[in-house]
């Protein structure tokens, strides 16, 4: 990253210190500077960062296009709701429920991946998309004859996370200052984001990360070099899915309420957009993408206010415009900056390579004649 000032580069310890302090006080700065509502936005930015980093393992590292990623998020969220809400009268502690959600999602990742991962990339995209829709349809309809998901109404009154008797879902007064739930959740989410970053970084830099990269580059050659491509792809799928499940649990606890509505295809697409926009395969890029795409729509809400101020009424509802702009941005990014805002080293090369067709060719098993 050339944009980092030189003096910071010379003192990485100092840079880390500054970043840590900034992250620690960020919710207070934000709530004072922009208003309390923005802390919630910040929380969602972190949640999406976890999701995007998870999906990035699948799409960015292993090169598998997963369009049903949100289904894993949904599984994590619903499991949390089932195990800690009045729905079934269960109120298990979060440290049990969150990992279970990750595990369940990871398990479903394997279940879905096992039969489909030998398909070529674009087929996989459609199958995962179908899977996402199936999960949503079930969540929507499993309220009768046995009420499991409470149908379109969703599940309410989900327990907030509470650590050692300290509920993150309540207001506390600390040193005379009122601190609200979004601030507590901010720290929790920050912890999990850092955890996700650590896992993603270390995996990328390991034997497994290299195997993913190899499969992405040339699956046949990867197999011929001793990589069990099926298992390694499954692993990417399962890892990504578990982070989805984890984020889902966090989301359920944070919101206190979930419904199938929150888990539609557009959410999957949004997360994919974050990766594409930020820079596939590159952790800082992916985080940037997640933050941008969470914050921008909120900022776009001001568009409505401006229109009212300037024209007296709202001509175009900014909410309606939002997705349209995203769609355009996706197309434009692919056309003009396909490697993203902060591209990974590898992506940059890949898109710069004069002959992208070589990759397509590499995808075919047949040894072409020289």
């Amino acid at each position: 990253m050339r944009s980092v000032p030189d003096w910071l580069r010379r003192h990485p310890g100092l840079a880390f210190g500054l970043l840590a302090v900034l992250l620690a006080v960020l919710p207070f700065i934000v709530s004072i500077g922009l208003g309390r509502g923005w802390v919630r936005v910040l929380d969602f930015a972190l949640l999406y960062a976890i999701l995007a980093l998870g999906l990035n393992i699948v799409v960015g590292y292993a090169g598998l296009l997963d369009l049903g990623y949100i289904a894993f998020y949904a599984l994590g969220a619903y499991l949390f709701a089932w195990l800690s809400s009045p729905q079934f009268g269960l109120h298990l502690p979060f440290w049990l429920v969150l990992p279970s959600g990750a595990l369940l999602a990871g398990g479903f990742g394997v279940l879905l991946g096992a039969p489909t991962l030998r398909l070529r990339g674009d087929y996989l995209a459609i199958v995962t998309l179908g899977f996402g829709e199936i999960v949503r349809i079930f969540m929507n309809n499993l309220d009768a004859p046995v009420n499991i998901t409470n149908g379109p109404q969703g599940i309410n009154l989900i327990d907030p996370i509470s650590i050692g008797g300290f509920s993150l879902g309540a207001r506390h007064t600390i040193l005379g200052v009122h601190v609200f739930p979004p601030t507590f959740y901010y720290y929790l989410f920050l912890f999990f984001t850092l955890f996700t970053i650590l896992v993603a970084m270390r995996l990328q830099d390991s034997r497994i990360g290299r195997a993913w990269a190899a499969i992405r580059e040339d699956e046949v050659a990867a197999a011929a070099m001793g990589i069990d491509t099926r298992n390694i792809k499954l692993l990417a799928f399962a890892m990504g899915a578990s982070f989805g499940g984890l984020a889902g649990g966090l989301f359920a606890a944070f919101q206190g309420f979930i419904s199938p509505e929150s888990f539609n295809l557009m959410e999957s697409v949004m997360i994919l957009c974050m990766i594409v926009l930020g820079g596939m395969g590159n952790i800082p890029g992916v985080i940037l993408g997640a933050v941008l795409l969470t914050v921008l729509p909120e900022a776009l809400r001001y568009l409505g206010a401006w229109q009212r101020a300037a024209l007296g009424h709202v001509v175009v509802d900014p909410n309606d415009l939002r997705m349209l702009l995203f769609g355009l941005a996706m197309v434009a990014m692919m056309l003009y900056r396909p490697a993203g805002l902060l591209p990974s080293r590898q992506r940059r090369r890949e898109f710069r390579a004069e002959d992208g067709a070589a990759e397509q060719e590499a995808a075919s098993l047949y040894d072409a004649k020289a």
Binding site: T116, L119, A125, V127, G130, L324, L328, A329
Partner: protein, 309 residues
């Protein structure tokens, strides 16, 4: 009433619409190995523009005969969609022909989001109902009922599919399309203008989508900016079921999927002891898709393509 026969009829009608849309997927895939993700939205745009034109015509001339208004609407839809198909290929796919595989798929998703939301801005969020100008007679058949509209849809679909088959088998353009599908390089060497062929493929596919879109909205009596999504997915599933890249496969797959869905929805309650109801109808398409891809990725009539992974 005989449920089986009735669901069979309903399935065949729906299936012939799926087939028309599936043809668009399959033709593009056959030539570019690209899943034109935005194809479902093209169908939606077709339906919505036909509704808009028909609505406007009836608004201006309330007494206008249906036989004039309907074709006008269909024609408008076809024109709009053909233009749309051409533009989509030029803007979103052609520049990325040599890019890594994921790139055009992502622009395709982008294009469908744009189309959906543009449609929502133009036509609003609510359902638009189809004006009551359609034939509404019905006839008993084998203990079930078939409506005039159903007859029209099936007949028209069959005619269109015949026409398309003739076009591909008998005309110069068709020959060029088949050559390009075999090998783009070789076709180019043989003097085929590949870009023209690709554009033509998109345009023809979009015209079919437009007609299918009008049929769907007429059949259900509704149009909506979100209608293209599911339809597109199902048609894609149908194309895969039949063997993607294969025209006859798309037709067969469409019809089969329609029948599977209709019968499935009719009997799922009995099959699961009342646990699952007909609101799971949409699940069938995906189940079929996943099962086909797992057990016979080449589809019913296709060659093996999955191995090329």
């Amino acid at each position: 009433m005989d449920i089986f026969v009735q669901q069979l009829i309903n399935g065949l009608v729906l299936g012939s619409i799926y087939a028309l849309v599936a043809l668009g997927y399959t033709m593009v895939y056959g030539i570019l190995e690209l899943i034109n993700f935005a194809h479902g939205e093209v169908t939606m745009v077709g339906a919505m523009s036909a509704l808009a034109v028909i609505g406007a015509l009836l608004g201006a001339y309330p007494q206008a005969p249906a036989l004039l208004v309907l074709p006008a609407g269909v024609l408008a839809a076809i024109m709009v969609c053909m233009a749309l198909g051409y533009v989509i290929e030029r803007v979103a796919y052609r520049p990325l022909r040599r890019a890594p595989r994921l790139a055009p798929l992502i622009t395709a998703i982008g294009v469908s989001i744009v189309l959906q939301n543009a449609a929502m801005l133009i036509w609003g969020r609510s359902y638009i109902s189809f004006p009551a100008i359609l034939p509404h007679g019905s006839h008993p058949i084998l203990g079930a009922v078939i409506t005039d509209l159903q007859i029209v849809i099936v007949t028209l679909s069959v005619l269109i599919m015949l026409g398309l088959t003739l076009l591909v088998e008998r005309t110069r353009l068709g020959r060029a399309m088949r050559a390009t599908a075999q090998s783009r390089e070789v076709a180019e060497l043989m003097g085929v203008n590949v870009n023209t062929v690709i554009s033509a493929t998109f345009i023809i596919g979009s015209a079919l989508a437009a007609i299918a879109g009008v049929m769907v909205s007429a059949y259900y009596g509704l149009g909506h900016y979100y209608m293209g999504f599911m339809l597109g997915l199902k048609a894609f599933s149908a194309a895969v079921l039949g063997g993607i890249g294969n025209l006859a496969g798309a037709m067969l797959g469409g019809l089969l999927l329609g029948v599977i869905e209709a019968l499935g929805a009719g009997y799922i309650g009995d099959l699961t002891g009342g646990f699952l109801g007909s609101n799971y109808q949409d699940v069938f398409a995906f189940m079929v898709l996943i099962l086909v891809l797992v057990f016979r990725p080449s589809g019913l009539l296709g060659e093996r393509v999955a191995q090329r992974a």
